[in-house]
Amino acid sequence: MSIATADSGRNGIFTPFNLITGAILLGGAIILTIRFTTGLASTTNLSDTNPWGLWIGFDVMAGVALAAGGFVISSAVFLFGMKEYQPVVRPALLTGFLGYALVVIGLLADLGRPWRLPYPFIKQAGPTSPLFEVSLCVALYLTVLFIETTPAVFEWLGLKWWRRLVAQLTIVLTIFGLILSTMHQSTLGAMFMVTPTKLHPLWYSSQIPVQFFVSAIAAGISMIIVEGWFSHRAFHHQVQISDDQFRDINFGLAKGGAVVLVTYLAVKVVALSLENEWRLLATGWGAWYLVELIGFVVTPCILFAVAYRERKLGLARVAAAMTVFGVVLNRFNVTFIAFNWQVPHEMRYAPAWTEVWVTVSLITFAVVVFRWIAHRMPIMYEHPDYPALH
């Protein structure tokens, strides 16, 4: 298999892509160095009143939701037998794995004492904490995702016996992954149930865990479409499925996206009814809530449905991008926008440019690694020497 590497061409390693990503990563590394040598105050706008900001809001909250494609698609293919999506399983799992790795790296940047990350498991556990459950599930799920991406690695390295071994684990790992994902996706939302006075009542609900879980599925499906958008073009030479097959997969995902978003809308409406908060919709915060709900849940839902019916791939991609943005917006709202909503204006939080740069460089890092792996390993195609996994 001859694989075109990123190093080919006149410029050697100084391709435009490499230059830009390199600059971003370098900046991120510098900022993180400052952060680890002088403390969080120098590189963030975090404060006593706002202990969680962009790094938790995006890297952890949104990152986990956007990496949900892995469990969604692997369950669909391996447990529910939707074989037509087999071609996107590996890209989705790789996205998932890199997404969760990004979560852990982002967490290491944000924790006050990141070297103590394993403490809940090795030193002292606080099992009453939702965060304990999240960290345990994320640690285990990261392992599961890691193992689920190793088949491609073993194929690349030609380690047949290892490859066979992990292939046999697929079903067990998929089940375990779905269990872990259900738990930690919803518990990330449940973490905010302890703050009824600090999170705006439109976002605070006893249904928050369900809302986070369902929106994560929508985000995962959308990320597969978005990731496929770029990968299909970048790795077109590797792709073995026909254009029609690729389009069919995307439309199937669009249909799924529409159904999940309608379910999400229903859960949101139920939450409003349970707490009888309709009059809050007439306030300023209500308008912002409706922007999130109508603009980035209802609209992409309709666009997904239309795209499926009219077979318009561009529309499906737009809908997917809007869904991703909507889920990120929702996580931001819950973490620092609608959180502390009653705090006086001068004490509210806005991210510092250093926080934004670090987040962007983490995303860049994930993209670069994805690209490196996809160029070399059988992610976008099936290795002819090995049978398809189940």
């Binding site: 006593d48 006050g112 904490s129 269990i179 259900t182 973490m191 149930m193 302890v194 865990p209």
Partner: protein, 347 residues
């Protein structure tokens, strides 16, 4: 399904537990009142004159720097302050006293809740509710995730963001070492107006009620902290509604851990039900695949058999026809030969 207080406190005291919520008495109908004889403080805001002696004493007792704004400086009340890593307690002015009524102040600090949400949400169990009342923090296990600061409804916790080596979560400690020695917290000793009284919480509740009974025009008939979010060790009396003192008036009596962590009781359900359920789905899918494959093979076999018989029938039919044709052709030739013979005769 929520945990009982004893179960919750018991699991805190025990420490490491199973992955499940660790509530030994989850679902019990008993009511845990809290550790009997635990201490508390009564803050009577109608007596507070805003002298800030408590801030000075707290700084001294905890070896913190003196308050930046000196005690006589009244400008400090122009803004509403909160506690910080170097000031565990502050006094704010909530009413100016312009209208002839005296100005109204309140001291704020960690409330040392009966069922602290900071302790419930800490994933390394760094907080402990002691039987004496104060909540203690263990910097030896803290990883700096700051979930406790997110959770606290009183904004009582602060973090050392400028410390890269050993940042801690800092807040009022209710002078636990002094209490253990039989002394009073520094602020209680310092207050010259008697706005802070230290004692057993159950005694202070009776004192508070007694003051309300004796001076009904002076106090709002409510002791804040008796039940709010499960109750706090700091109890407040006021002459104006508590919401005007920036306190959560009218909140539920259910504790925040019960509200916020009761969700975890669903975890064992997922862990026990999902495997069987998903394995069943997989089995259904597999069975569907197997059945589909079998049907295909059966259809193919049948098609093959049918095809062979049809072929045989066609061949025999064609052979028949060919035979018939041949016989007919022979017949025609014989008749023709006979006819020729009849016409010409032997010549």
């Amino acid at each position: 399904m929520s945990m009982s207080r004893r179960g919750f406190v018991g699991s805190l005291a025990v420490g490491a537990g199973a992955l499940s919520s660790g509530a030994a008495d989850a679902g019990t109908i008993e009511h845990f009142e809290g550790y009997p004889g635990r201490y508390g403080l009564l803050h009577d805001t109608t007596l507070c004159v805003g002298c800030r002696s408590c801030e000075v004493a707290c700084a001294k007792v905890n070896a913190l720097p003196e308050p930046k704004q000196p005690v006589g400086d009244l400008d400090v009340f122009e803004t509403v302050r909160r506690s910080t890593t170097t000031a565990f307690t502050v006094v704010n002015r909530y009413q100016d006293g312009d209208d002839g009524n005296p100005p109204i102040y309140r001291k704020l600090q960690c409330m040392h809740c009966n069922e602290p949400c900071c302790a419930a949400v800490c994933l390394v169990h760094a907080f402990t509710k002691t039987p004496e009342g104060p909540i203690l923090y263990d910097p030896e296990v803290c990883i700096g995730c700051r979930y406790c600061i997110m959770a606290c409804p009183y904004y009582a916790l602060s973090y050392e963001y400028d410390n890269p080596i050993d940042p801690q979560v800092l807040r009022c400690t209710m002078c636990y070492p002094r209490i253990k020695e039989g002394l009073n917290p520094g602020c209680a000793d310092a207050c010259p107006a008697g706005a802070i009284t230290f004692g057993r919480r159950e005694d202070l509740l009776m004192v508070a009620r007694d003051r309300i009974r004796k001076f009904p025009d002076r106090y709002i008939n409510h002791v804040f902290g008796e039940y709010e979010f499960g109750g706090t060790s700091w109890l407040m009396l006021a002459g104006i509604p508590f919401r005007e003192l920036d306190l959560n008036e009218g909140v539920t009596h259910e504790s925040l851990p019960a509200i916020g962590t009761s969700y975890l009781s669903v975890v064992p359900l997922i862990v026990t039900i999902y495997p069987g359920l998903l394995a069943a789905f997989y089995a259904f899918t597999k069975r569907k695949d197997t059945l589909a494959k079998r049907e295909l093979e059966a259809a193919l076999a049948e098609a093959r058999v049918l095809g062979e018989e049809e072929m045989k029938a066609k061949l025999s039919h064609a052979a028949e026809r060919a035979k018939k044709d041949k016989e007919k052709a022979v017949e025609v030739a014989v008749r023709k030969a006979l006819a020729e013979q009849g016409e010409g005769g032997p010549s």
